[in-house]
């Protein structure tokens, strides 16, 4: 008789256990219980989120490919882009180096398992305040894990974002996005088919690492003094590199019917999902699984989350040919089972049945209806009396403080540790609004970005999520790319908490509405709940990863000023908005006020104007205004290129609002363009046609950034000073 504390320790609740009894019509074996516990965990089963995720649009302007592991868009007759983002938050909090490294490895496998060659990685990271030693340890460990894995595996890390905020103390976020290219005709599904075909296990051997990673680690919050290190997996990027090459070579043969990587819940998940998707059955002989150590129990073999492993369904008679390819790369490849027509997964270990489960039951985890309740504190949090913000007038000093903020300053200390150039596609290097990668064999390029301001999402989940989508699109547009499709990684607290679930629900609605407005499909994604520690829960953090296409790679645009005497144009308007801003947080230590307003029609007009101007080669640079507002954005335009810094005089800001809101407010839908004089009238016309607010605000040149309001100099700082503060701050804060 299985006692409640046994199944509860595996993360199963009593109603779930009763459901298992109902399905099997008997008590489960230990292996069966383990299998159900991982497949029905929040992490694999999406028990709380599945219903709401249906709100996200699956179709958009681009032709989409939606598969089991990742989704994509077709951008040329022979070329599709496959991409996905995934979290590895909990493992990274427990063991930053390996947690982040295996996060990178896992998402790369999701891409090449579709038959796509991985061409880029982006990382969206969140940590607790940088002035705490423990947070710095986590931060450095995560960066080290990403460089360790990504550099060796030969996939460039081209972009991402990093923010430090109190809510991530005790629960960091590590979201990794991978992008791959594939011929749309050759996309492979994670599906087992054809009675008599073989299941081949390939890659690293199975050990005891990561057992219960997804059910125990990813599906509950951190408590004091928990020892969870053994549930973290260990990564081997060299093995993964060989696995990529071997898998892509093997897929070329056309003898692989379906393939899936072994990620969360290892062998259990890949067998059950492949078999269930193909609506077949399978007979598995577990003793054939290559093991790293002797005496693993059958349930341990099924649960292990050892990294760098794949499961393939291979045509009968072609097993030897496929095995040979993996062996050439020094990798294991063993037939571990056959496809049957029973619709049962029948697992034997040394001729004894250890599990016999209807395949479909595993992939249809019981779904929950969680309670959602709007928190009462929001009303107070959102109210911000600007009159009470005393007006500190030293704007030079404020600008320097903001440029030195760890949330704004240059992240070169991080991205110089990542190989961001391997594969020789990186046209726009890290540090700009979006990364741009050329696509060999075409004249096109793609741009990619990740975005989310979680402060906005905390005070206003719906609008905050909309802003994340709008900003991601804006970043792509500034690079000259037309936004095409979205992947999301939704990081939230414990879904049993009605406030958390309300946040989750509203963020999803916000993403859905903005994506529909911009006609973007959400092609893949990931949900991470239970991001909590005794110090509290994380702000709702729905990271948006977005891909766009540049039809002529020669028109890829970066954000910084290129030459003197260019005209500086502002598309969009400046409003009296300071809520939830970096300015309030860093200068006044205040977090209140509502997220900036967002008018999707205005956003679209500004983006259309920018994109059209870039595609007609009228523009020298384009940069969006985000954290730190207009002044910070202008400074970044001046100082990014260390060898060729170009100053600016800004004299056309005739908005009738507070000076600090004008300089540092985070009003949305604003893009700063610089262009040669003879482009100005063309751009003005394009803006008029699209109904986008257009204003010439200044010109480039000189060795200072000077900003006027009417005849008054608000701010005048030397580029040297701005650059030093922005360029060196991160390093100074962590050493």
């Amino acid at each position: 008789m299985i006692k409640p504390h046994i199944y509860k320790s595996l993360g199963l609740a009593t109603p779930q256990y009763k459901k298992i009894l109902e399905i099997l019509k008997r008590e489960p074996t230990p292996t069966e219980l383990a299998i159900f516990s991982v497949e029905w965990s929040e992490h694999c089963g999406y028990c709380s989120s599945k219903k709401l995720l249906k709100l996200l649009p699956k179709k958009g302007k681009a032709k989409t490919l939606i598969g089991e592991d990742a989704g994509g868009v077709v951008i040329d007759k022979n070329l599709a882009i496959v991409f996905k983002m995934e979290s590895h938050n909990h493992p990274s909090q427990v063991e930053p180096h390996q947690g982040a490294a295996t996060g990178v490895g896992g998402i790369i496998r999701d891409i090449f398992t579709c038959g796509a060659r991985p061409i880029a990685l982006l990382d969206s990271l969140r940590f607790g305040p940088i002035n705490k030693a423990y947070n710095r340890y986590i931060f450095k460990g995560v960066v080290d894990g990403i460089q360790f894995y990504g550099n060796c595996v030969g996939v460039p890390t081209v972009g991402g974002e990093i923010y430090f905020e109190k809510c991530y103390s005790g629960n960091c976020l590590v979201n990794v996005m991978c992008i791959g290219v594939v011929d749309p005709e050759k996309v492979v599904r994670a599906k087992a088919e054809g009675v008599g075909n073989s299941l081949i296990y390939a890659g690293a051997s199975t050990g005891r690492d990561g057992i219960g990673g997804c059910s125990v680690l990813a599906s509950c919050e951190f408590k004091e003094k928990d020892e969870k290190r053994p549930t973290v997996q260990i990564g081997d990027p060299f093995m993964e590199k060989c696995l990529i090459e071997a898998t892509l070579e093997a897929l070329e043969t056309g003898d692989i019917v379906g393939i899936k990587d072994m990620g969360a819940a290892g062998l259990t998940c890949s067998i059950s999902e492949m078999v269930a998707t193909g609506d077949v059955g399978a007979q598995i002989e577990l003793e054939r699984v290559p093991l790293r150590q002797k005496n693993l129990e059958p349930w341990e073999i099924m649960m292990s989350e050892s990294q760098e492993r794949m499961l393939m369904c291979v045509k009968e008679g072609k097993e030897k040919k496929i095995k040979k390819i993996f062996q050439k790369w020094g990798l294991n490849a063993e037939v571990i089972g056959k496809i049957t027509n029973t619709k049962f997964i029948d697992i034997k270990y040394k001729n004894q049945t250890v599990a016999k489960i209807p395949a479909k039951s595993l992939v249809n985890a019981p779904l929950y209806n969680r309670k959602a309740e709007k928190p009462k504190y929001l009303k107070i949090l959102r109210s911000l009396n600007l009159k009470k913000i005393s007006k500190i007038k030293n704007y030079n000093k404020i600008l320097l403080t903001l440029l030195g903020s760890e949330n704004i300053c240059s992240k070169k200390w991080v991205y110089e540790q990542y190989d961001h150039m391997v594969q020789t596609n990186t046209v726009i290097l890290p540090g700009s609004d979006a990364a741009v990668l050329k696509l060999k064999g075409t004249n096109k390029a793609i741009a990619a970005t990740t975005d989310c301001n979680s402060r906005y999402c905390f005070v206003n989940p719906y609008r905050g999520a909309q802003i994340a989508v709008a900003e991601a699109a804006r970043n792509l547009v500034c690079s000259g790319a037309e936004p095409l499709a979205v992947t999301d990684c939704l990081n939230f607290g414990n879904p049993n908490n009605p406030t958390v679930f309300w946040e989750f629900k509203n963020c999803i609605k916000g993403i859905a509405s903005a994506c529909k407005y911009f006609n973007l499909a959400v092609v893949s994604g990931n949900v991470s709940f239970y991001n909590e520690s005794p110090k509290g829960r994380v702000y709702p953090t729905p990271i948006i990863g977005m891909i766009g296409v540049i039809y002529d790679v020669g028109k890829a645009t970066s954000h910084y000023f290129k030459k003197e005497d260019d005209v500086i144009i502002l598309l969009g308007v400046c409003k009296n908005e300071l809520g939830a801003s970096e300015y309030l947080s860093k200068i006044y230590k205040v977090f209140s006020g509502d997220a900036p307003s967002l008018d999707l029609a205005l956003e679209k007009a500004v983006q259309k104007t920018t994109l059209e101007s870039i595609s007609r080669s009228l523009v020298s640079s384009a940069h969006d205004c985000s954290e730190g507002g207009l002044a910070v954005a202008l400074a970044e335009c001046c100082i990014f290129d260390k060898e060729n810094m170009i100053g600016a005089i800004i004299y056309g800001l005739d908005f009738n609002i507070r000076e600090d809101a004008l300089l540092f407010g985070e009003t949305q839908s604003r893009i700063i363009i610089s262009c040669p004089k003879n482009s100005v009238e063309h751009i003005r016309k394009i803006a008029q046609k699209n109904n986008a607010p257009f204003k010439v605000i200044g010109k480039t040149g000189g060795k200072n950034l000077i900003i006027y309001k009417k005849n008054k100099v608000l701010l005048d700082v030397s580029l040297e000073k701005l650059h030093n503060r922005w360029y060196n701050s991160l390093e100074e804060k962590i050493i």
Binding site: Q147, N151, C152, V153, G154, D236, P237, F238, M239, K241, C242, W329, G330, Y415, E416, Q417, Y418, D419, H420, M421, V422, Q423, T424, T426, V427, K438, K440, V553, G554, E643
Partner: protein, 232 residues
């Protein structure tokens, strides 16, 4: 003439080198699996960057035992050209085909960025199209690029004009502040005494297209072609 690009398990710049030779320079090129030993019909062999065998023991330490390396000794003996880029340079040092050793970057971190290098010796098969003291803009990406050699060895390198590239600034000034990894005497590339084996840390294949902001790397590949085709 024909190039060969060696593929060790864990090489990750093999395809980039192949692409430059084939698609940009339109010259014949083939991949050479690390277990192949028939390499006599090639004129120049490239040992590409990456993490051969994971570089788990020490960068290049395992790759030097690959079957192809035995053939490469003969190949070098015959006076044919070998160029080792990044991990390829590390392998050449481990194999004893070049003198000295690599230790970890001074700051103990991986460094990926554009640097400037000055051509110190233009009288080589790899730099014959460069001008004396020409400054090249080429990126580096490595963990262990801190080149070391003892005093005697350094004197020997200098005496024989074996130092081919040094880290410098945009204007060509060689100084400590423009040394990204702590390499002795700012050395970023050397040749063997015979002059047919080059090892360098920067990646010329990453700076061979206008779109990638520098085409200076092409000078190295073009020099090789010039040297072979014109039998200099």
């Amino acid at each position: 003439m024909k190039f060969g690009v060696v593929v060790f398990p864990g090489s990750n710049c093999d395809q980039d080198c192949f692409y430059v030779i084939k698609n940009i320079l339109n010259k014949p090129v083939e991949y050479l699996w690390h277990q192949s030993t028939e390499i006599n019909n090639f004129d120049c062999i490239i040992l590409p960057g990456g993490f051969s065998y994971g570089d788990y023991l020490r960068a290049g330490a395992i790759a030097r035992f690959s079957p192809i390396m035995r053939s490469i000794y003969d190949f070098v003996e015959k006076g044919k050209l070998v160029i080792g880029i990044c991990n390829g340079f590390q392998i050449l040092l481990e194999a004893g085909l070049l003198s000295g050793a690599m230790i970890r970057n001074e700051n103990c971190r991986f460094i990926c960025k554009y640097v400037y290098i000055r051509v110190e010796n233009t009288n080589t098969p790899f730099t014959n199209l460069c001008k004396t003291n020409q400054v090249l803009k080429i990126p580096i990406a490595h963990n262990e690029g801190n080149y070391y050699i003892d005093t005697e060895g350094l004197e020997e390198l200098k005496k024989n004009n074996q130092i081919v590239f040094r880290y410098c600034d945009k204007s060509g000034e060689v100084s400590k502040i423009h040394n990204p990894n702590g390499a002795i005497d700012n050395i970023s590339g050397i040749i063997n005494k015979k002059g047919n084996v080059l090892g360098l840390m920067p990646h010329p294949e990453r700076s061979s297209e206008k779109l990638l902001s520098s085409t200076d790397g092409l000078l190295i590949f073009k020099s090789i072609i010039n040297w072979i085709e014109n039998k200099l």
